[in-house]
């Protein structure tokens, strides 16, 4: 299969959807020049009435996308960083996400939001390194975070076709990673987890940018004689509960390796799910390896201490396999 970089695959998916459906628009800051690369070449191909550079008015253009969607368009809104979700928060979670329900099921709001450089990357510091998917799923917004080039294309295309608001997190750490991408109209349905590696002794549920580290950890543990399964939820809401539960019921041991803040983070939700619905199968406490609850610090040694690390994952897995406390 042909190999593409994550960002290239995503761009290909976006271009294909714009060709396929004239109601697909791109709205955001610097999307014509394409600061982030996701929208490169689009204004040249589709013209200025499909690709809109906006003022620095995130709440405004987020609300505008909602209105355009209600009126029959299918906007793709690019946010340059996670923090922009804070600025547009009411328009995202209190308007776009709630309107259909509050209206009693009238209309459709097919907006796709893409955070085109999501999470931490060396030295971006406290306001440019957040990973806010727990806030979105808490408010009921459909949310995906592809971990591979193939899913980057497939899930973006699915998100654009979805008739509801969908938030797509594209982790900075993965944008340059290469991976196989099927030819043709490759769409990855929402709500299906991906088993990145099969195993029988322990399940690691790894999120987005952490999947590669989780796989390396599984190799290390394999060398130590443990068979570790790595599951990538990739669709966070809808969540493939059955798929995740099946893995945990099989292995009886689980560590959640999550890139969001710890308290009320995504790992908390998964731990709560397992502690309830996989209870009978669990043979060890449900462990979380997450970010610390501070803004991501600038200095590399501090940053490394705050972000979820492969070493801590390894520790947690070993402790879990012993069934002992770390």
């Amino acid at each position: 299969m042909r190999e593409l970089r994550y960002l290239e695959a995503m761009r290909e998916g976006l271009r294909e959807e714009m060709r396929r459906d004239p109601s697909v628009l791109v709205i955001g800051e610097d999307v014509r020049a394409s600061l982030r690369g996701l929208t490169k070449g689009l204004v040249e191909e589709f013209g200025p009435s499909r690709v809109f550079d906006t003022p620095i008015s995130e709440a405004g253009f987020t609300g505008l996308a909602t209105g355009a969607a209600l009126a029959g368009m299918r906007p793709v809104v690019e946010f340059q960083i996670n923090a922009l979700l804070f600025v547009a928060f009411d328009q995202l979670v209190d308007q776009a996400q709630k309107l259909r329900y509050m209206m009693g099921g009238q209309g459709r709001i097919p907006v796709t939001y893409v955070v085109a450089a999501s999470g931490a990357r060396r030295g971006l510091a406290g306001q440019h390194s957040d990973h806010l998917y727990p806030l979105m799923v808490h408010m009921g917004m459909k949310t995906v975070m592809p971990a591979t080039a193939g899913d980057a294309k497939g899930l973006l295309k699915a998100a654009i076709r979805e008739d509801d608001p969908v938030m797509v997190f594209a982790p900075s750490a993965l944008l340059a990673e290469k991976g196989p991408v099927p030819d043709g109209d490759h769409v990855t349905p929402l709500g299906r987890a991906r088993v990145a590696r099969e195993g029988t002794d322990l399940t690691i549920v790894a999120l987005g940018p952490l999947v590669p580290q989780a796989l390396r950890c599984a190799d290390t543990l394999a060398a130590e004689g443990a068979s570790v399964e790595v599951v990538d939820p990739r669709s966070l809401l809808p969540l493939d509960r059955e798929g995740l539960l099946a893995s945990v019921r099989k292995t009886g041991r689980v560590v959640v390796f999550d890139d969001s803040n710890r308290t009320c983070g995504f790992a908390a939700e998964l731990a709560a799910l397992f502690a309830d619905e996989a209870w009978d199968a669990l043979r060890a406490p449900v462990r979380r390896v997450t970010r610390a609850d501070v803004p991501v610090p600038f200095s590399p040694p501090l940053e490394a201490q705050v972000l979820p690390s492969a070493d801590r994952l390894l520790e947690a897995c070993r402790a879990c396999l012993e069934g002992a406390r770390a």
Partner: protein
């Protein structure tokens, strides 16, 4: 648009009367606990919604506010389904999910009342943008209050409409207060329409107690927008004769003088306009009043007879595309 026809003149009265009496009935029903929650009545401001919405086509779009009943009725909303919604019935516009602050009818271009001050403004811009991109000449009106002019997103929306010359009319219903806060204290401007200059858009200020003045100004703004001339900021100076919401009396908060209220009540469009109609010999308002009462009797009866929604439906309608286990239930 030129001068309103006889039929239009009568229709203006019918609409204003419908709004006034609808609201008066809402207050009764709230006090009788037939309507739960909070309702914000439009009493006193009828000429604004009427003058503006009567300058619109059925396929034009409006975004409304927490004080939305008047806008929705003037845009053609069905009093029966509105009343049913206010009572939380399954036959209501929102199947009981929304209540007063969220009534919507997309088919009539009513993109919803909104519980968040100012939030409708950018949504109206989006509807206008879609119309433009689809080659339709529809116009969008964003209603908001004087208090909303200090909400950042409203500025962002006005700037977006201005730079993209979107067919939007920003209708500021300046009733002088945001709950207890006088706009005199909350903005340094004498004339809120002066905010328009910051976006190089025309800013007009009209007497919001005069339905003909509002209709004329709105018609001009709508025509300009429809013709591709871009957005307008239209300030309508008006007043609410009642409390911020039905429950205000109970709170016993005071922020307006009796004299001020009285002075405005003397300009009540439901008194001055029918008097003028009578002078002109256009119509006997009494006949219209009867029609309106009949309509409202029927609306209330319809709402009362309608069933409540079934609890099991509570999780339906959130997503156009549902999935197993979504939305998550609480147990």
């Amino acid at each position: 648009m030129g001068h309103p026809s006889q039929d239009q003149l009568i229709d203006f009265y019918r609409t204003m009367r419908l709004i006034r009496r609808f609201e008066e009935r809402v207050v009764e029903l709230v006090n009788r606990n037939e309507i739960p929650g909070v309702t914000h009545e439009y009493v006193g401001e009828e000429a604004v919604a009427t003058g503006v919405c009567r300058a619109l086509r059925p396929d034009d779009v409006i975004t409304s506010t927490h004080r939305g009943h008047g806008h929705i009725l003037a845009k053609g909303g069905d009093p029966r389904r509105m009343m049913a919604e206010l009572m939380g019935k399954a036959t209501g516009y929102n199947r009981g999910r929304g209540g007063s602050m969220h009534i919507a009818d997309l088919a009539l271009g009513i993109y919803g009342a909104n519980g968040i001050v100012g939030a409708g403004a950018p949504i109206a811009c989006g509807a206008a943008m879609a119309a433009r991109l689809r080659g339709e000449d529809r116009v969008a009106v964003a209603f908001f209050g004087d208090g909303a002019t200090n909400q950042g997103v409203v500025h962002e929306a006005m700037n977006l409409a201005a730079i993209w010359t979107l067919p939007v009319v920003f209708v500021c219903e300046n009733n002088g207060y945001a709950i207890s806060a006088s706009i005199r204290d909350m903005s340094p401007l004498e004339r809120l329409a002066d905010r328009a200059a910051a976006y190089r858009m025309p800013g007009e200020s009209v007497d919001g107690m005069d339905v003909l003045a509002v209709h004329a100004a709105a018609s001009a703004a709508v025509a300009r927008a429809r013709a591709g001339g871009g957005p307008t900021f239209l300030e309508c100076r008006t007043y609410r004769f009642v409390g911020h919401f039905t429950a205000e009396k109970a709170l016993g908060i005071r922020y307006r003088s009796e004299e001020e209220v009285e002075a405005w009540r003397r300009r009540d469009p439901l008194v001055t306009y029918p008097a003028w109609l009578r002078e002109q010999g256009v119509v006997d308002p009494a006949r219209v009043d009867e029609e309106v009462e009949a309509l409202l009797d029927e609306a209330v009866a319809f709402a009362r007879q309608s069933p409540l929604p079934a609890p099991e439906e509570a999780l339906d309608g959130m997503y156009a595309v549902p999935y197993p286990g979504l939305p998550a239930r609480g147990w």
